[in-house]
């Protein structure tokens, strides 16, 4: 007898529908799984056999063939355990085949028959809606996540017998555990860290505010122990709250990566700070099957690269596409996977490898040359703002606390609104995305402001690229100030934070 049930395979951060077909017929007892199943799926045979028996069902001593269709798609992970078990039950007439119609199933089985949580449930629920599958059976721990998708009735189950009972209509689905995060659309939780924790760097807050308001990538430049990491972490707290679409994207990514244990919607922007020994594939994603890298895990949040010059050349080179396109395409064999990577880059660097800087520096010629080569690499072209972080004076450390994250975030949000309004016709959301070709039309700089830029060009040899960057940042400064035109003072403010290749390389 033949039965089938829908399930989903995760490819990148998207889901693809997979039919789990079971055929049970008389013959020598055998249990075969065909259809490009990876090791974890083939091992499902043992889990399914034990779970069926231990849950009081009969494991048919017949010839059982499972096919996972479409056959060309590689199926990965333990999420096929539950659909496989249900398909076997239906094919052996222990469960009415009709109960599985219009129903998608996902879940891992333990030998005792309990259902364990799996990754990528949000993507699966979206797939179910896309394919018109009205009901979705998932592990109860992931029910809240699946329920984020409207139009799909989510049935949270705790065990195989419970799943069967729910499908038969004999028992209600289990209630999901209470969410640990607030509902989408609220102002977001008060994070444990706040901008006002940082002492002695009040002078740098406008620079951080500008970076957050325009989505500008940022370089923090200063000796070790001055608070670069502390500042970078707090950048997340002054970015605007995630909008519902972004929140879904972040949740989907984190769910696929298995980072997202709390269930429900992720409502805070991610902050990722990989160590500088990370490989290129760890940073942008890769491996087989392709897994999301740190760049993707930082999607919609902040990716912090401390000790920028210590990252391997190949890792930094690999960052080019994610920064340029906001996504990364990974090709492994016949598989092509796309991961989203729209993050804000915050890089930090010491003045020199030994960290001393200036006259305290004890670096060798080779160290310094390597440091500068790395710094002047491809990443710097995508960074708009450079902020020197000095050692705060003792007096500054004991000064008053600066503004709270909430205060700064409010200004950032209103600046973003101005940008969104202006940039919507060209399909952009923030000033950092402005391409060079649109600068003249969309920045609206006064002639005086342009003259100041010209003076910098003449006197300081500001490059054409540098010119564009200053204009972009000046636009953000004007947005923060609520000005429609970019005035001289906005250009001046932006220029004092510009990143300067020549100065980076030819340091005195």
């Amino acid at each position: 007898m033949l039965a089938r049930v829908a399930s989903f395979a995760i490819v990148g951060v998207e889901s693809r529908r997979v039919w789990v077909e079971a055929d049970v017929r008389p013959g020598l007892p055998a249990f075969t799984v065909v259809g490009l199943a990876d090791t974890a799926v083939r091992e499902a045979r043992e889990r399914v056999r034990a779970a069926l028996v231990n849950s009081g069902f009969e494991f048919p001593l017949k010839r059982i063939t499972i096919n996972l269709a479409p056959a060309y798609l590689r199926k990965i992970g333990p999420g096929f355990d539950l659909p496989l078990a249900l398909a076997v039950l239906a094919a052996s007439e222990q469960l009415a085949a009709g109960t599985l119609t219009g129903c998608a199933v996902m879940g891992e089985l333990s030998l005792s028959g309990t259902v364990a949580p799996v990754r990528g449930v949000l993507a699966t629920a979206e797939g179910a809606r896309r394919h018109g599958l009205a009901r979705l059976v998932v592990p109860v721990a992931r029910a809240r996540e699946a329920a984020l998708v409207p139009g799909v009735s989510v049935l949270g189950v705790v065990s195989l017998p419970h799943a069967v009972a729910v499908l038969r209509g004999a028992e209600p689905p289990a209630d999901p555990p209470p969410a640990r995060e607030p509902a989408p659309g609220s102002a977001g939780p008060i994070p444990e860290i706040d901008l006002s924790d940082v002492r002695g760097h009040n002078a740098l807050i406008p620079a951080l505010e500008t970076a957050a308001a325009g989505g500008h990538n940022l370089l923090l430049h200063g000796p070790p122990g001055t608070g670069k990491t502390m500042l970078a972490r707090r950048l997340v707290t002054i970015l605007p709250p995630l909008d519902p679409t972004e929140a879904l994207e972040v949740t989907r990514v984190h769910s696929v990566a298995g980072l997202h244990a709390a269930g429900g919607l992720v409502s805070t922007r991610p902050f990722r700070s990989p160590h500088h020994t990370i490989s290129a594939s760890g940073l942008v994603g890769g491996g087989s099957p392709p897994a999301p890298g740190e760049a993707t895990l930082a999607h919609c949040g902040v990716l912090f690269l401390d000790e920028l010059s210590e990252f391997s050349r190949s890792s930094l080179e690999a960052m080019r596409q994610p920064l340029e396109d906001g996504r990364v395409v990974i090709v492994r064999g016949q598989r092509v996977v796309t991961f989203p990577t729209r993050f804000m880059l915050v890089a930090a660097t010491n003045p020199c490898p030994c960290g001393g800087g200036g006259d305290a520096c004890r670096c060798t010629a080779a160290d310094l040359a390597r440091h500068r080569r790395r710094l002047s690499g491809p990443l710097l072209d995508r960074i708009d703002l450079s902020v020197p972080v000095g050692r705060p004076s003792a007096a500054a450390l004991h000064s008053e606390a600066g503004p709270s994250s909430r205060e700064v975030r409010e200004r950032v949000v209103s600046a973003r609104e101005r940008q969104a309004h202006r940039l919507a016709p060209v399909g952009l959301t923030c000033n950092a995305q402005l391409p060079a070709g649109l600068l003249r039309d969309l920045v609206a700089a006064t002639p005086e402001a342009l003259r100041t830029l010209g003076a910098l060009h003449d006197r300081e040899g500001l490059s054409a690229r540098g010119h564009g960057r200053v204009l972009r940042v000046a636009r953000t400064v004007a947005d923060l100030a609520g000005s429609d035109r970019v005035e001289t003072e906005h250009v001046e403010e932006a220029a004092a934070l510009r990143i300067d290749h020549a100065a980076m390389v030819a340091a005195v």
């Binding site: 009040n202 002078a203 620079a207 006259d359 020197p388 003076a455 001046e492 004092a496 100065a503 340091a507």
Partner: protein, 361 residues
């Protein structure tokens, strides 16, 4: 000037360089490199038992030596030439040839001030050295030092922020940055100041060369200021040379409990002038004191700046270069950013590595 050196003097320099190892040994035995360097060529040749140096001496090719100097981008002047600085002639063992890179005015710079001190200096010593360098340079007084780590480099770096000349006297060839970690400073001094050495291009210094170099520093300066130094510091050797030449030796006071201040405080106890700031040094520059003082005063008042910008500029002149250091005392950070660009556009400050601002010359 190019290479204004006679064959004899070039041969003498080549001899000293080729005998450097032997001089090192003889110096340790006799403890007197000065007297060695004052000896005529044939006495020096006797240091070398193998006579290799004698053969080299006999076959010396002056044209090739001139070419090497030119190829290293240096100039040279010898004892026999009129351009040889009179102050250096006062030494009992003046170098036969002075090699020069950078600004040729260095050898005829009038009254200069030497700032020397400990390599392992304290932050206080570095700060004072940089400030004295900057102030003297602003007053257009040439600043001479040895480009060593610590006080010397801080003095040069400070002087580079002002408009005056800074002169680095090296123990090895003038084209060889030593210490190597200071090659950025070396390049910058070559560009905007001058580098001087008595040894030929490419020469790697022996230990005695540093002592010999110190006598040149003393000779080139009118006033020698010791910024920081232990009781047995090399800076005190420079002070000794300076005293022998009749130069004024000043010292910067330090904490009596600090070992780094033992040498300088001892000098003060012996009656050396106490140096707190550039004005104290200018008192001891008879020829230049008044004009320099006027220069210091003028640069302090830059016309046409608002009070806010003037204060910001003053803070940068005092060595506060980063946003955090400048946005204090009621100055609003965004206003500081605007002020910095305005000062930059008007040419008063320059934006350096990592967004650090310095006063332009």
């Amino acid at each position: 000037m190019a290479v204004a050196a006679c064959d004899d003097c070039l041969r003498r320099t080549d001899l000293v360089a080729s005998l450097a190892g032997h001089i090192e040994v003889a110096w340790r035995d006799a403890g007197a490199p000065r007297r060695l360097l004052a000896q005529p060529d044939d006495v020096l040749l006797d240091l070398d038992g193998s006579r290799l140096a004698a053969r080299r001496y006999a076959r010396f090719d002056a044209a090739a030596a001139r070419r090497r100097i030119a190829e290293a981008g240096l100039e040279a002047v010898c004892l026999c030439a009129p351009g040889y600085p009179a102050r250096v002639r006062e030494l009992e063992d003046p170098p036969a040839v002075l090699h020069l890179g950078g600004d040729r005015r260095a050898l005829d710079a009038g009254e200069a001030v030497a700032l020397v001190g400990a390599r392992r200096a304290s932050p206080y010593g570095l700060e004072v050295a940089a400030r004295l360098g900057r102030e003297l340079s602003t007053a257009r007084v040439p600043v001479v030092s040895g480009m060593a780590l610590g006080v010397d480099s801080a003095a040069h770096a400070g002087a580079l922020e002002g408009a005056g000349l800074t002169i680095a006297v090296l123990a090895g060839g003038a084209d060889v940055p030593y210490p190597a970690s200071k090659r950025r400073l070396h390049a910058e001094i070559l560009r905007r100041g001058a580098v001087v050495s008595e040894l030929p291009p490419g020469f790697r210094a022996h230990r005695w060369c540093f002592v010999a170099r110190n006598r040149l520093i003393a000779a080139l300066a009118t006033v020698v200021v010791i910024v920081e130094g232990t009781a047995r510091s090399g800076s005190l050797i420079t002070a000794g040379f300076a005293a022998d030449l009749g130069r004024t030796v000043g010292a910067v006071p330090g904490q009596v409990t600090s070992r780094l201040a033992a040498g300088t405080n001892a000098l003060l106890a012996d009656g050396a002038p106490l140096i707190r700031e550039a004005a104290d040094v200018l008192d001891h520059l008879p020829g230049m004191g008044e004009t320099a003082r006027a220069e210091l005063g003028r640069s302090a008042r830059v016309s046409g700046l608002s009070r806010e910008l003037d204060e910001l500029l003053a803070a940068i002149e005092a060595g506060h270069g980063t946003l955090s250091e400048l946005a204090v005392a009621g100055r609003e950070p965004r206003a500081v950013l605007r002020g910095l660009t305005e000062l930059e556009v008007r040419g008063f400050v320059r934006r350096g590595f990592g967004g650090r601002y310095v006063r332009t010359a």
